[in-house]
Structure formats: C-alpha cells, structure tokens
Amino acid sequence: MDSQARITAEIAEAHAATPPGGAQPRIDFLPYRSSALRHPTKDLRHADPEGIELVAPVFGHSDVDPVEADLTIQHGGEPIGERMLLTGRVLDGDGRPVRHQLVEIWQANAGGRYIHKRDQHPAPIDPSFTGVGRCLTDGDGVYRFTTIKPGPYPWRNHLNAWRPAHIHFSLFGTEFTQRLVTQMYFPGDPLFALDPIYQSITDQAARDRLVATYDHDLTTHEWATGYRWDIVLTGTHATPLERDDHE
C-alpha cells in the first residue's frame, strides 16, 4: 500500500496541474485509487436538455414519513454520541428555493462505523442507530435532520487512510439535470488535507462549500449542537416565462 506521504504528494501534483476555479471534483483524480478504472476518459458531450430531462421526479408526503428526519428515534434506544441538529436550504443555481423536494442522507455512527454489511472497520455497531434519514424540504427549501455526529473512519485507499467525518447527501431539483449526490463535512477537520476524495475538488473555495457551519443559535440548551449547511444545485434551463414562480 502507498503511504500517506505519497498520496499527499500526488494530491499536490494534481492540484498544481489543474487550472484554478473548477467548481466540481476532477473525476480523473488518481490519488483516489478506486477512480482509476471508473471515470470516463472522453470529455462529457454537450447536450441541450429536452423533454423528460427537464422534469425532476416529484416526491410528497406519501413518500416520506416525518419521523424519518430524526435518526435518533428510529430504533427504540438512544444512540451513542453527540446529538446534533442539521439544517439548511436547498437552492437552485439562480438562488430560488427548491420546495417540497426529497433529501436523503446516510452516515457512519459516532464511532465511524456504518451499518452496511461490507463495513469491516472494527468499531462498535450501535443497535440504536442505522444512520439513514429522509425528509422533504419545506416551502422555503429548508431541510431539517436530527442525528448523531459521525466519526471519522479508516479505509483502504492507502496505508493509514482516514476519511474526515462526513454525511452523505442525495438531492433533486426541479429538473432531472440538477441531480446531486455529495458529502457534507464538519468545520476544521484535521483530515481534510489528507483525504483524496475531498481534495478531488481542486479549488479551495469549492471545497469550502462542502463544509457545514457550527451555529450556536441552532444549538439547543441541554439537548443538541447545531450545524447549518446550504446546498446549491446547478441552474435550471427553463426560461423565466416557463417558471411557475417568478421572483
């Protein structure tokens, strides 16, 4: 296995070789070893979206039970770890709220262990926590979850590889072209510089957009800490007259 020093050097080389300002990860980012055979080598083809691509799937109250937004009450007991509230707004690329749309999350427990059967990290499973949640945004595009702060966890990309603590997010907009799957991180994580997945985004300002903010006004007395993270999807292709909400 490669050393962290080698991966860190490769990250620095890849950053130096990438023009500044990229808003998205490089999909050909070889410090993330699993990407080597799994990224397209041709440029993505420009297509003008049409028909079905311009309409996202619709989700509603028949899809999601409100209790699915509280990951701490799903299994009878109190999960171990730091209880936290997580909220923010989902906006499209023009700053409009994405209303009444599905948000899905999944994460490790406080010890850095997923419930997933293929997670071999020898940290304890918490029988009171599966780390899976769903909610719908409200009329202002706001999502809200109650969960446990996840721990960092080791993986096999290289020797002594550790992922910074993160929560996986899956998002939809109003067009299918806006589909987004990403990961949210926590402020000040000492593992940021070492992580080839986070560093696959070569622009610091873009990387910062994946980091939540601690919000003491959201933290509640003798109950839970609060974090805030807003999400911006790509823009829609509809012209202003085609939109049903003019702002």
């Binding site: 808003a23 799994r38 003008d48 079905i52 691509e53 028949s62 906006l91 700053g95 996986h168």
Partner: protein
C-alpha cells in the same frame, strides 16, 4: 433579477449507500405483469471490462403517451406511475428495471434519461438510453461508434438491454448540460 450562485460540488456515492438509497420496489416503475411491462436491464463495466458491483442507476422517463409524469409516490408507489426508478447493481454488475416503454416528449425521440453513480466515480454521470429505432439531431451528430453506446438493444426475449461502460474502447457517451459549468 436572480443571481447565479456557485454550485455545491458533487462527491462519490461511496461504498455504503445500499442501506439508504435502494428501497423495496425502487426498480419496479410498474408492477411485474402489467400490460406492456418490459425489463430494462444491463451491466455496468469499468475500464478493464470488469463488472461494477457497487453502482447505482436511476432512470427518468415519460409514459407511453409521451407525458412527463409529475405524480408523487416513487418511494411508496401504490400503483402510481411516476416515471422514475432506482436500482443498485448486483455482485455481477447487473441492474434491472421493470417499466413500460416511453414515448418521446413533445415530438422528440424516445429515451430514458439515466444517472449513473458508483464507488470510485467522483461525480454523477448523465446519459441517455434511446429506444430501438429512435434518433434525433443529438444522436445523429455523434460518430457512429459513440452513438451506438446510447442505443438500447432489443433482446430475443423482448427485454431491453442497456450496458454502461464507464471507461474504455466502448466508453458510454456521458452528457454535460449547459448549466453544468465545470
């Protein structure tokens, strides 16, 4: 006037999504046995030709009349056709949906819009799976070998096969829409 905001970057779906994203009935846009039901299936391959056992596909489609469904209820379908489904690949890299064949929307060609996610893939990919015999200016404008990667194959049993090659000689054509500035 609205402002243009910088987008939140994507990240890989990772290896541990199976308890969160796939769900019972996710791959059944219509119940098996529905009149006109068809299997849409295929294998996801990496650049060495090996199957990818930890990918997730989503399809978005019109109904057989060419209407884009806006009904809720994909997660608990209850008989509603929502035109969206989700399926993880199995240990052999295979996925399968049960659905109906879409018609083109507004006179366009009939295709499934497909999103591909996988461990090792740092951002989601979009592609199109055109029904047999369908074409449009986009498909016709591609070199023949590339266009072939977007064509669904009708199998002898009537099912529809659409393989995805993330990399390699038969690399699938993946799409970038105008507002996906990178």
């Amino acid at each position: 006037m609205s402002e243009t905001l910088a987008p939140t970057p994507g990240q890989t779906i990772g290896p541990f999504f199976h308890d969160a994203l796939p769900y019972d009935g996710g791959a059944f846009l219509v119940p098996a046995g529905t009149a006109g039901a068809v299997r849409l299936h295929g294998t996801v391959y990496d650049g060495s030709g090996a199957p990818v056992p930890d990918a997730l596909l989503e399809v978005r489609q019109a109904d057989p009349s060419g209407a884009a469904p806006r009904a809720e209820g994909s997660l608990r379908r209850d008989g509603r056709f929502t035109g969206w489904g989700r399926a993880a690949t199995d240990a052999s890299g295979r996925y399968a949906f049960t659905t109906v064949e879409p018609a083109g929307v507004d006179g366009g060609a009939a295709f499934f819009s497909v999103v591909v996610l996988a461990r090792g893939l740092l951002d989601r990919l979009f592609t199109r799976a055109y029904l047999p015999g369908q074409s449009d200016a986009f498909l016709a404008g591609l070199p023949a070998a590339e266009a072939q990667t977007l064509r669904v194959v009708r199998e002898d049993d009537g099912s529809l096969r659409f393989d995805v090659h993330l990399q390699g000689d038969r690399e699938t054509v993946f799409l970038r829409y105008p507002r996906h500035e990178r």
